[in-house]
Structures are given as structure tokens and as C-alpha cells.
């Protein structure tokens, strides 16, 4: 059937489709829709940079303006992926520079980005506007200088928790004097000092600046200067928030904050001097997002501030907030959507802070819009988990980390199966779950039965047997990302559910019982998967096939095996020609 709808109309309709999911759905309706859609897709998101190669992407989507890539597996954040594993963005940049000269935005997460890449970016895209690097590494401040000096239309430079080689703070001074288009600058992860006068001048000539996140080296005394230059800020991150207590400094800071009528988000707050915290009081009621997770301040001081943030939607804080603070929040912050509580002393068995499961229960009771939780604590009970799940069936993301591995219900000493089971049963929209504590195969049975919308699952030190893994792989229909460490899961469940792996983005298993033999078999039988065995032991080739591998990372791919692997990575079951050649 020829498509009788004028192309222009269809194109116009498609332009309202922004989500990748929708666009993917549209593109498989028929050939003409496929053709039309591919010509007008402007944004690409590649969740695993090794699942596809850039040439395929460029050939299919010629008019892209924004590319987002993710590299290393999530557990790389916790040092489980050795250096040199991969995630090199260079080959992508080379192809994109050729294929998308009008590219405007690049967003990268957990990738290795070199100065060479940054230079190439800065010189290849005349209209480059947005660079977001999240948990990336491999570049230095020289690379930043290149971006800053050459990208005349830069709007966003956002460095989130990157590991940057700091040669100097001079990169900031490379913004040309004529450059006025800055909208967002996040340099919070940098350690070296930048020239304050250069910073001040930059801020002064950036009328569209909405986000400014400073690094620790910017002293508290200078904050008011910057805030006065940029009262239009929406998102502000302080530097080290400490100084000698001086009334003049305090009052000019408080005044400066009160001049920021659009401020919605505050962060930074390293090394807090508690006496200066109330300087932000005038904006507390405006805030929708507050990150005090580097503020090693005690509960009363924290609570006083947070308790005034009536419109808060997102709170990130240390466990210094304690149960009492969370109780206050449950009363005062009725709009809270996301709660993150990090541990102040994660490597200590004893908790010096009075933060228990109670804090989370109170927030779940008092905050009707709570959807997303990341909570580190030292004790949990099934009854608390059941309460939480019954209070908040609208939870979409529930990540609980009980610091001691395999800690049971502290009241009954039973596993926490029933508690987590209740979470997946009651919270029907749950898309992300991380579990901890003592868990048997039973919890996985619950998950496989109920967690039908679960997209990402993280498991550690849990389960008894392959049955656990089997429940998850066979039952969780929407599962795309599964990461497992230190669980007794092995070959049987993996091989029995091999086809499931092609419907997922990736599976990570480390310190489990998956053998070399099984990995090889899987790699041989499933051409659409790369089965990467990551094993740093010596003489791997002489280890018997029944030996468990240290780590295995399995992901679906259409670009065949990769050739940038270090010596401790083996792509199993593929011969040297296992590449899909589409040139």
C-alpha cells in the first residue's frame, strides 16, 4: 500500500515524538514510515556503545543533532571493572565528525575521553552547543581548554563526577571575551583553582546563565559576588562552604541568596561551617532540589534547613540527617519525589549515627509523591519493608543498601525475602530495584512473579542457587539490565535463558559460578551477543573450562565483537571473523 499521506504532514507529526521508544515504534510500522522517520530523527541514545557501531548509526540517521552514549557497565562505578576495559569514545568521535558536521550535543557516560577527542569535538562541529560528561575519564584540563576556546556557540559544559587530570586551572580563562552564550557550567568535580576574576567576568557576560556549579576551591567569601552577577540562576552549586564566622560575610551572602528569585536547586556545600547554612534560608521555600551530601553537619543543623524547604522534590543528604531529621522531612516536605541518603562512614560496622529503617518508613508515610529512593543504612526488617511498600505503591525506583552484606531482618533474623517481595508486589510500577541483606532464592521467585515492569535489577550477596537467577530471567518481562555480584548463580540458569539475553541490554555477573565453558558455549550459540569474560588471573588459557570466571559481561550487539579489548578480556565463542561487515 503506497502511503497516501503527504510526507510533510507525517514529518510534522513525527516532530512531536521525542522519546526514542516512540520513534522506534513508529519506524517499524512500514517501510515508508521507517524512511521518513530516519530522516527526521534528531536525537540518538545508545545505551551500550558496543551494541552498535557509529557507521551503522550514521548511515541510518543522517540528520542527527544530538548523540548520547554510555560505555562501561554500571559496576565500573564501584571499581569492579579494571582499567583499560574499554568504552573509548575516540572511534565514535572520528565517525561522527565525518557524518554529522552540524552536530550540536554530545552526552557521554562512563566513557574514556581523551584530550584528542575533546580537541576533535571542538574543531569538527561548527554549531556545537552541549557537552555533558558523566563519570568519564581520560582527559585533562587541556582538553577542556580546547572546548572552551573553540566552541563559539557553547551553551552547556557539564562535568559530572569525572576524573580529570588537572594540569592547571587556566582552562577557564580560555573562554573568549566575546563569548556570551553560556547557559550551564558544572565544574564541581575539578580540584584545581580557576582564576576568580576570569570566572567573575564570564558570569557577568553570560546573561543566559542558569546553572553554575562551582568547585571546592571557590571560597565562601566570594560566593556573594558571583550570585550578585547572576541573580537569574536556577541551579547553583557552592564551593567549600566554610569560612571564619564574620557577620559581614554572612549578611552579604544571605543578601545575595535572597536576590536569587529563580533559584530551584542548590548543591556543593563541602566542608560546611554550620553557622553559614542559614544564609540560604531565604531561598529554601523556592528549592525543589537540595544536595547536602557533602555536608558533614549534624542533624539539628541539617534539619533546620531542610525543614524549611516546603517545595522540595529531591533531597540528597548524608545519614547525619538521622531518623529525627527524616521525620521532620516527612512532615514538612510533602512534595518530595526522590530521597537519597548516603552513609557518612560506610566502612565501619557500628553506626554512630541514629539512622535506621525508621527514617525511611516515616518518609514513606508522610510523602505521598515519593517515587525514588536510594538509602544506605545498617539495619532493616521485613515489617519495615512491607510498611514502605504499602505506604508507597507508587515507587518506581527502590535501591536499598544495607551496609553489612547478607544482613538478616534485625528483629526476626530471617531473610528479607518477604520484605522485598512485598515491594515488588505492591509497587507495580517499579522499574529499578537494588537489593541487599540476607536473601534466598525465594525473593527471586517473588521478583519473577511480580516485577513485570522492572527494567533494571542489581543483586549482591544473595540467593542460594541457579533457581534464583532462573526466576529473574524467565519472569521479568521488561528486564533490560541485570547486574549481579557474589551470588551462587551459574551455568544452568544462564544457558536455559540464553534467548532472554538478546532481549536485554546487558548482563553483568562477577564472583558468581559461571564457568568458562558456559561462556564459550553461549558465545558460540548466540551470535547476537558478545560474551566478555573479564579475568585477570595468570595463565587463563590453562584453566579448566569448568572453572568459574571472575567476571562476565554479556550484551547484545549488531556490530560483532570489538577489537579494542585489553589482554584480560576475552570475547568467547567468536572466531576472528565474527564481525558483521556492513561497509
Amino acid at each position: 500500500m503506497a502511503c497516501s499521506f503527504p510526507e510533510e504532514v507525517l514529518e510534522h507529526v513525527f516532530s512531536f515524538l521525542t522519546s526514542q521508544k516512540d520513534r522506534n515504534a513508529v519506524s517499524v510500522v512500514c517501510k515508508s514510515w521507517y524512511e521518513m522517520e530516519r530522516w527526521c530523527r534528531k536525537r540518538i541514545f545508545v545505551g551500550n556503545c558496543y551494541s552498535v557501531n557509529p557507521r551503522i548509526m550514521i548511515r541510518r540517521f543522517p540528520e542527527v543533532k544530538s548523540v548520547e552514549l554510555k560505555g562501561k557497565p554500571h559496576f565500573a562505578d564501584f571499581n569492579l571493572v579494571p582499567e583499560g576495559w574499554g568504552g573509548f569514545v575516540y572511534p565514535w568521535i572520528v565517525e561522527i565528525a565525518r557524518g554529522y558536521p552540524w552536530l550540536e550535543e554530545i552526552r557521554l557516560k562512563r566513557m574514556v575521553v581523551t584530550d584528542e577527542c575533546l580537541e576533535m569535538i571542538s574543531k569538527s562541529f561548527k554549531n556545537f552547543k552541549v557537552l555533558v560528561l558523566s563519570s568519564c575519564e581520560g582527559f585533562s584540563t587541556d582538553g577542556l581548554a580546547a572546548i572552551v576556546a573553540n566552541c563559539r556557540n557553547l551553551r552547556v559544559l557539564d562535568l559530572r563526577e569525572c576524573e580529570v587530570e588537572e594540569l592547571s586551572g587556566h582552562w577557564l580563562s580560555h573562554f573568549p571575551d566575546s563569548f556570551t552564550s553560556l547557559e550551564s557550567l558544572n565544574m564541581a568535580c575539578l580540584l584545581s583553582e580557576v582564576s576568580f576574576s576570569a570566572l567573575e567576568r564570564l558570569v557577568a557576560r553570560s546573561p543566559n546563565l542558569k546553572t553554575l556549579r562551582l568547585n571546592r576551591t571557590v571560597p565562601l567569601e566570594k560566593l556573594s559576588t558571583l550570585l550578585q552577577r547572576a541573580p537569574q540562576l536556577v541551579d547553583f552549586g557552592t564551593g567549600a562552604y566554610s569560612a571564619e564566622i564574620r557577620p559581614d560575610v554572612y549578611s552579604s551572602l544571605a543578601d545575595a541568596f535572597s536576590g536569587c528569585k529563580n533559584l530551584k536547586s542548590l548543591s556543593g556545600f563541602w566542608d560546611v561551617t554550620p553557622a553559614y547554612l542559614p544564609a540560604i534560608c531565604s531561598v529554601c521555600s523556592l528549592l525543589t532540589s537540595l544536595n547536602l551530601s557533602y555536608a558533614t553537619t549534624q542533624s539539628p543543623d541539617l534539619t533546620k534547613i531542610v525543614g524549611q524547604c516546603y517545595n522540595l522534590q529531591r533531597l540528597v543528604v548524608l545519614d547525619y540527617i538521622e531518623d529525627t531529621g527524616l521525620n521532620t522531612i516527612s512532615i514538612s516536605c510533602k512534595d518530595l519525589r526522590e530521597l537519597v541518603v548516603f552513609p557518612s562512614d560506610p566502612f565501619v560496622a557500628d553506626a554512630d549515627v541514629l539512622l535506621t529503617e525508621q527514617g525511611l518508613v516515616s518518609v514513606s508515610q508522610g510523602c505521598p509523591k515519593l517515587q525514588s529512593v536510594l538509602y544506605f543504612c545498617r539495619q532493616m526488617s521485613n515489617s519495615a519493608l512491607i510498611s514502605i511498600s504499602k505506604n508507597r505503591p507508587n515507587l518506581t525506583c527502590f535501591r536499598l543498601c544495607i551496609i553489612e552484606p547478607r544482613a538478616p531482618d534485625y528483629v526476626t533474623l530471617e531473610p528479607l525475602d518477604v520484605g522485598f517481595g512485598s515491594v515488588v508486589e505492591n509497587c507495580k510500577q517499579l522499574t529499578r530495584l537494588s537489593m541487599s541483606g540476607l536473601l534466598t532464592d525465594r525473593v527471586f521467585e517473588y521478583i519473577g512473579t511480580h516485577a513485570k515492569n522492572l527494567d533494571m535489577l542489581s543483586i549482591a550477596f544473595a540467593g542460594d542457587s541457579d533457581l534464583g537467577l532462573h526466576h529473574v530471567l524467565s519472569g521479568c518481562d521488561s528486564l533490560r539490565k541485570l547486574e549481579i555480584r557474589d551470588c551462587p548463580f551459574g551455568d544452568k540458569a544462564l544457558l536455559a535463558n540464553a534467548s532472554k539475553l538478546e532481549r536485554m541490554r546487558s548482563l553483568w555477573m562477577s564472583s558468581c559460578f559461571v564457568s568458562f565453558g558456559a561462556c564459550k558455549l553461549l558465545g558460540q550459540k548466540m551470535p547476537g551477543l558478545n560474551v566478555e569474560v573479564i579475568d585477570e588471573r595468570e595463565n587463563i588459557s590453562s584453566i579448566p573450562e569448568c572453572t568459574p570466571v571472575e567476571k562476565v559481561y554479556i550484551y547484545r550487539t549488531v556490530s560483532g565483537q570489538r577489537f579494542d579489548i585489553p589482554d584480560y578480556v576475552r570475547i568467547m565463542g567468536k572466531d576472528k571473523d565474527g564481525v558483521y561487515d556492513l561497509s
Binding site: F78, V348, R378, P405, S465, E536, R537, I543
Partner: protein, 294 residues
């Protein structure tokens, strides 16, 4: 909940586990043909592996990793104590230190030590977290709790700024990853300084890590103890081809081995393995600095 036996937290016994009901009571089976892991072999603080009756099986199942420990490291700096004290070998090590190496076998030990503790302690009734084992004795598991390096490093810097040297803060309790680059290697590595107690352990680990890159020989026999090294020992450490240097807090590049171990891990920001000829100029300066410090 039944208390799991010491080496059976896994409960993995035989290949038909898929069909079994998933009870949490874990009875170990000696079904060695199906057990991928011979759990006995990973028990803590018993005789040296390979000296038990299962030695052959250990050797084949765990391959060279165990072999090395049975026979001592191959390359000439051996800390293996083959006199039957019955303890694992790491110098200055105690049971809790066993968990600290990163390789597969050791990780299992770590987990076991981890599991054994909480179950035993909590047997007595509702857990009171005060009064459990003192913080500093806790074995560290790689990547647990799951906190990003950026946060860990920031909090460590926080506490050292505030002058806290108390145990249990990020700085002392956590890990200390530094980058190690080797001239000519295609990528650099990260090493956790906190898991080693002296230069010997450390250099052994380094050697293992970079063994695939080593063109020449890096030998360092005869290194003893945690203190700073004498000049002759320094020469031994750095051997014929490779020289190990580190960047300290002041940004200066120093030879590894100058200062006592504790001081070293306190000030080391990153490491570099260079070819001998390039580092010659370093030696006098670093000795000078060392003297000035002392």
C-alpha cells in the same frame, strides 16, 4: 533461620540445584565432581592449601593461583612462609587481612569471612550494633558498599582536611585507589594501596599486574619490613630495567621505597613505572627530600 555452616553460605551442592526447593538451610555436600568450588579449599586459617589431602584437586581447580602460593612466588621475592605456622602467608597479616587481595580466590575468602561474622554475632538475638567487632578489624570487600570513587575520595579529603585520623572515616577505613602507569603500556591500572601492608606485598602485586607488559626483569629480592629502605635495598627494588616512582602530595616525583610504608601511602597520589635510565636523576633528590623529612 538455621545457621549456615561456615563454608556453606552458598548452599551450592550439586548440579540439580535448579530443581531443588530453595531452602535457606545449606547443607554442604562433598560432591566434588559437581562442586565447581571446593569450599574446603577456601576455608580460613587452616593449613596451607595444597598441604591438605585435596591438594591435587586444589591445584587443578584453582590452577596457578593456588600453585603460586603452594610453591612460593616464582619471581624471587617471596613472602611465602613455608614453615608450618599454619597461617596464610602475607606479612603482618591476620585473618581479617586475608580478604584484601582482589583475585577470585581471595574474594571468596572475603565473602566467607564476611558472612561468618554477622551470622555468628547475631545469633544471640536482636542485633545491637554497638559492641560488635571494632571497626578497624573489618575486612574490605571490593566495591562494597556501592559508593562511587568520586564520593569516596571527596569524603576522604574531607576528613583529612578536618584533621580526623580516627578510624572508621573514609580515609582510613576505605580504600585508596591510585593510578599506575607504565611506560609503553597501552593503558594504566588502578591499585588499592590500603590492602597492602608493606612494600613487599605491594611490589609483588604490581609485578603481577604488569607482568604482561614487562619487557625486562623487575626484581626486588631482599626487601624487608615496613620501614624505609637503605640505599642498597633501593637499588634492589628498582632492579635492572624498571624504576618505580610516585607523585607525592607536593606534586614531586619520588622513588618508591624512600619512606616508611605508612608515610608512603599517605602521600602517594599516583605511580609510574619508568625505564631505569629516565629515573636516574630522581634518586639523589628523593634521598635529599627524605633526609629533610627525617
Amino acid at each position: 533461620m538455621s545457621v549456615p555452616l561456615e563454608h556453606d553460605y552458598i548452599g551450592l551442592s550439586d548440579a540439580s540445584s535448579l530443581g531443588r526447593s530453595s531452602e535457606s538451610s545449606n547443607i554442604s555436600s562433598d560432591n566434588e565432581t559437581n562442586n565447581v568450588f571446593n569450599l574446603k579449599a577456601t576455608e580460613l586459617s587452616l593449613g596451607l592449601p595444597g598441604f591438605s589431602k585435596d591438594s591435587e584437586q586444589n591445584a587443578t581447580k584453582f590452577g596457578p593461583v593456588i600453585k603460586n602460593f603452594m610453591l612460593g612466588a616464582k619471581r624471587g621475592f617471596s613472602d611465602v612462609n613455608l614453615e608450618g605456622s599454619g597461617k596464610w602467608v602475607l606479612k603482618g597479616g591476620s585473618e581479617s587481612d586475608l580478604g584484601k587481595a582482589k583475585n577470585g580466590v581471595f574474594e571468596k575468602n572475603q565473602i566467607l569471612s564476611h558472612v561468618v561474622k554477622p551470622v555468628k554475632e547475631k545469633k544471640k538475638g536482636p542485633v545491637n550494633e554497638n559492641g560488635s567487632a571494632p571497626p578497624s578489624a573489618k575486612a574490605q570487600v571490593v566495591g562494597w558498599p556501592p559508593i562511587r570513587s568520586f564520593r569516596k575520595n571527596t569524603m576522604a579529603a574531607n576528613s583529612s582536611k578536618n584533621g580526623e585520623v580516627a578510624e572508621g572515616n573514609f580515609g582510613s577505613g576505605g580504600c585508596l585507589y591510585v593510578k599506575v602507569s607504565m611506560d609503553g603500556a597501552p593503558y594504566l591500572r588502578k591499585i588499592d594501596l590500603k590492602i597492602y601492608h608493606n612494600y613487599a606485598e605491594f611490589s609483588k602485586a604490581l609485578e603481577k599486574m604488569f607482568s604482561c607488559f614487562t619487557l625486562g626483569q623487575c626484581t626486588s629480592s631482599g626487601i624487608k619490613g615496613r620501614e624505609g629502605l637503605s640505599e642498597s635495598n633501593l637499588k634492589d627494588l628498582h632492579g635492572a630495567d624498571c624504576v618505580l616512582t610516585y607523585e607525592d602530595k607536593d606534586g614531586d616525583w619520588m622513588l618508591v621505597g624512600d619512606v616508611p610504608w605508612e608515610m608512603f601511602i599517605d602521600s602517594c597520589k599516583r605511580l609510574r613505572i619508568t625505564k631505569g635510565s629516565e629515573a636516574i636523576g630522581l634518586a639523589p633528590r628523593s634521598m635529599e627530600k627524605c633526609k629533610n623529612r627525617n
